[in-house]
Structures are given as structure tokens and as C-alpha cells.
Amino acid sequence: MQVGTPYNLPFSPTTVVFGQSPTIVLGQNGDGIATNGTDAVNGPVVASFSLTSGSVNWSYQGTAGDTLSIIQATVDGGVTINDSNTGVIQLSSTGSPELRRAGRQKVHGSIAIAGVSSALQGAVPLDLSDWISTASGSASLIWSPNGSNNIPTLLAQTVYPMAKGNAQGQSISPFCRRQTSNCVLAPQSDSTFSNPFVPGVQTREVIYELFTLQNGALAPIVGNSQTKITVTEENSTNPNTKICDWLTPLGKCQSLGTYPDDYIVGNTGNFTVEQIFAIDRCQSQVFWPTDGFNSQGFPIQTWYGALSQNAIVTTNWATIQQNSPNMQAGATCSQGCSSIQANGTK
């Protein structure tokens, strides 16, 4: 083991209480985000600091008497915190409270507070739209879709994005961020067939499955039925298309273990939509195969991953286009992957 140079965290409480130590998470850019929770004199602080130098990037100070707790570091570089007196606050990547969207401003008492959601006081996120609260004495769901009120629920892409590591509070990284799992998605099966309910319309059904990516090789993760795969869809070219926007309860698209997606125009006409996949609220790459040749000239397939993709759906066919796939990190897949390419080529 090598030991780094110790340095101070940016908290100066006037008293120290046994058993109370700062809570730390890893932010999207790899910096630490910590809070001392309480400081009855100066007010508690949330601060972002460099892991290598200890220098403070920004800090946010609460009011004396408040208790601040970190809920999660978010994919936009910010952090979601809870203030015991006001509610949930989203701090930006520079530590400023995010302003609410027009028309969604909440009122705390008689005073409107920018960036604070008193409705989520003490609640924790369950998925991309629901938070769980026990404020009433029993567990209840609160509707707060990803991004509404400027409080995102996609986690930072780091190994410790939440206080106590994962959603279960097990002091370990989320399942897909562990060395032994390192999850991505890839199609397990991919088939096109005539839709029996809409004559003349083809349906492309892709079943996405959880894979582990180890040393450039994809392998299916079997028997993990608790892992929640979710999809958000944005920028549809057809406003009549039902998409997974997570802004309405019916718009949810999620599944455990595997995710079947039927690409079909229905009766609303052709459309193109951008898809973003997440595994347990962690944005995930989707790998698709590409035909090529190895150094001996034999045909091979190589899988490349991308964090988003466009689905182009027409009456007769559906095709997928990966957005900025990482062509520098190709992978092999010897079992469990469909060999059909994103554009539908067999």
C-alpha cells in the first residue's frame, strides 16, 4: 500500500461529537463532495474538493441549526442534498442552488425559495420519477420525474455516487460499478416480424440484457433479476408517438434483468427518437456489433458502446444509430449476444 499526504477537510466546527464524521461521495468529475452535516454556530457546509490536492472547488453553507445530508452526486456534475429545515436542494457543478423551471416553483411557507423542493423533504429517489418518503410514518411514493424542478435522478458515473455507496445503504458501490460486474447493455435477441394487430406494419423487437464488460469481452450476467433497466426517450420527431419520457406515470419504461423494446410505428406515423438507457439510475452504454475482418482477413464482429442512440422507426423497418460510439474500445462477445447490427443488417 502507498500512503498519500494527509490534508484537512474544509470544516471547522467548534465542537466535535463522537460518531459524527463527514459524509463523502464521489462527484461526476471524480472530485469528492462532503458535508459535515451540522454546525450549530457557523452552519453546516457542503464542499467539493480535489482528491489529489485537497483544494476546495466550491462550498455551500447552510443555516446554523439546519442539518445537511448528501443524497447523491448527479450526472450533471452537481449534487442533491437535503436540508432538514427547507427540503431537497440541487446544487450545480459550481455549488449554486439550481433555479426552478418556470411554472414549477415551489413555495416554502410564504417565501419562494429558488432551487428548493420542500415536498421532497427527507425523501430518497427510487427510480427516475419516484421518491420514497417516510415522513407520514409509512412509506409513500412522491412523484418527481427525472429533471423536474431541476432535480435530476441519474447518478454520477463514479464508484461511490451516493451516501453509503448504493441505494440499499450497504457501504459498497452500486452493483454495476463494482469490478466484478462493470455492467453494460447489449441486445440478447433481435427479431423483426409482422405485427398481428396492425396489418402491414413490421415490428422490430430487441431484447436488451445486462452484460459484464471485462478486459474487452462481453459476458451475460445471469440471474440478476433485481437490477432495474430504464429508458428515457427524447427529441421525438413525431409528437404523437408514445415515448418513455418519465414525465407521466404511463410513460415509464423499465424492466428487471432484461429490457424488451418493440420498435413499431403503430398508427402515429414514422418517427425518430433518442434513447438513453440506465441501469439502477446509472447511465449505461449499449453495445452493438459491427462487421469487420481480423488481421488474418477472416470476418469477425466487434461490439462498440455508446451512451445514447437514435431509433428510426418506419412502417416497414426500424433501425438504430449509435450516437458517438467509442470506437477505441471494441469488445468481443462469445455468448449471449445477438449478431444483428444496429442498422438491422444480419
Binding site: 494527509p6 477537510l9 466546527p13 466535535v16 464524521s21 464521489l26 469528492g32 457501504s171 466484478t180
Partner: protein, 195 residues
Amino acid sequence: MPLTVVDLDPVYGQPMWSLQAAGIQQGNSILYCYGGGDAPQIAVRGDGAVVVSEPTNNGFPPLSVMNIPPNGAGVSYPIPTSTNTMNGKAIDVQCCMGPPMVNVDGTIYVEYEVRNTVNNVITSDTLYLQQINVDNSWPSKVLSSTTQNQALLPGSIIPHGQGGVLATWTISPCCPPNPPAIQYPYRRRTWSLCR
């Protein structure tokens, strides 16, 4: 009733294993003594093994790993004791443990403190980082030490994303009720694993 950590079957709710605190013999009865802030701290390894550390010397085992695959065995680890000397009479006591954490590779980390006092003055205090590897070896290293009448209270640990961990602790001037203030009592240190 002794303080007990119980793992319940998720379907039937039946206890699968449990870990109990020991009591103190006081006259003809057993005293169970638990205060505020001394609830056991728990982490869960990816293979289902459960790490339990006890912050104080309330009778609960200081560090245990339960439900270890493949047969669900449990192990308690010996943590060095501290010495409390008062008017020339020395007693060995268990001092303080921090919360456990499991790194991305399955390695368990937890901090513990060895504090030696003489007539309520901390003559030496050493903070250790205990590691329990997936091969069941369990080396420890000194994080910090002092002879300045200060306590080095174990704190939280998180993975730093490059294979190693961040370890934090609190420097607490001795002794209540009116300890002198100290600026920046919370410290952290980066540990990297050499493999």
C-alpha cells in the same frame, strides 16, 4: 435484552444468523449498557458477506464478518485494546471503531483507534486502517498517531475510484466538557493499492 444484529430471511422473515452483544456481570444480574450513537455499523460485500463494526466498547464484538460464502460462516477479528490507567491501576478496554466499507474489488476497510490514557490524559493515540482482503488475509496500517493529548476518532472511508480508498478521521482535543477548539479537525488521507 442484548443488542442483537439479525439477518431475516426475505421471504419468511425467519432469522438466518444473528450477532449478540455480551453483558456485564453486575452482582447477580447481567447489565446491558448501550448509549446513543453506538449502534453497530454495517456493510455488505458483493458475495453477501456482512461486515459489522461496533463504534464503542458496549459489549458488541468490535469487528465481525458474517454470512461468509459458501457455508455462511462468521468470523470475529481481534482488535488491539487500549489501556486506561487511573491512579496507577491499568485496565485494558476496547476503544473505537469506524464504519466499514467495501471497495469495488471486494476488499473490506474499517478504521480503529488505540487510545492510551493516564489519569484522563491521552498519552498516545494511534489510528489504524484495517483491511480484510477477499482471500481472508487482514493486514492493517497506521493512518496517524499523536502524543498531543488528542483523540483520533475513526471516520468514514470511500473508494477513490482509482483502486484505492479515501480514509477520514477526526482530531478531537481531549477532554470534555471544555476541550480547546481546533481548526480543521477533519482530515483525510488517500491510500493507493500497489498490485
